[in-house]
């Protein structure tokens, strides 16, 4: 999942540490989210959206990665 977090952060002149402190998470978490190694939970995504005063879908874009398991039962 792609995101524009580095751009939003750069606009405000914040470092990853600054953003991490504002969201009360570790800098490692911000780095993992920005590089796409980690998809944030819904609560963290809402916190990020709230901090930048933007809708979640304008910050995070992309298709959900399809997994083989668990297989959803047909209706």
């Amino acid at each position: 999942m792609k995101n524009i977090l580095p751009e939003l952060r750069a606009q405000r002149g914040w470092t990853q540490g600054d953003l991490a402190a504002r969201l009360a998470v570790s800098r490692q978490t911000i780095n993992a989210v920005e590089t796409g190694r980690y998809e944030p939970s819904l609560s963290l995504a809402f916190a990020i959206a709230g901090l930048f005063a933007r809708p979640i879908e304008s910050i995070f874009q992309g298709q959900r990665e399809m997994r083989r398991f668990p297989v959803a039962a047909p209706d």
């Binding site: 540490g17 600054d18 991490a20 402190a21 009360a24 998470v25 570790s26 800098r27 490692q28 978490t29 993992a32 989210v33 980690y38 944030p40 939970s41 963290l44």
Partner: protein, 131 residues
């Protein structure tokens, strides 16, 4: 929460884990030596049983660190536990094969010590990078 507070948060668990691990290893050493140097009785029984308490301390501190960590660090800690399990499975199987070839038999406590050492190193590396 500012950056300095986050750094402080991740520094104290590292100290806590190291302290608890040293306490565990110290009491374990005392328990291993107790049958040789202490006469049978209440004192020896207590010294032999104390490592279970210090292990509870180690597990409690790791549990506290896990609950107090953010979501990504929690996921990394679970990854450490899974990786430790894999390393233990392969190393114990490997040593079993070596025993069949004539290598000396190891005590069960060696697996315990090896597993805790691997998990602690992996977890501390996660916490150190989370600063």
């Amino acid at each position: 929460m500012n950056t300095a507070r986050i750094v402080r948060f991740y520094s104290s668990p590292v100290s806590g884990i190291l302290f608890a691990l040293w306490a565990y290893l110290g009491t374990l050493l005392a328990a291993a030596l107790a049958p040789r140097y202490l006469a049978a009785g209440g004192t020896r029984d207590i010294v032999v049983l104390v490592p279970t308490l210090t292990l509870v301390l180690v597990v409690s501190i790791i549990g506290w660190v896990y609950r107090a960590s953010d979501e990504y660090v929690r996921r990394r800690i679970l990854g450490c536990a899974a990786l430790t399990g894999v390393i233990l499975a392969f190393s114990s199987l490997g040593w079993f094969c070596l025993e069949l070839l004539g290598y000396p038999r190891l005590s069960m406590i060696s697996i315990n010590l090896f597993g805790w050492s691997v998990f602690t190193v992996l977890m501390l590396s996660v916490l150190y990078r989370a600063k």
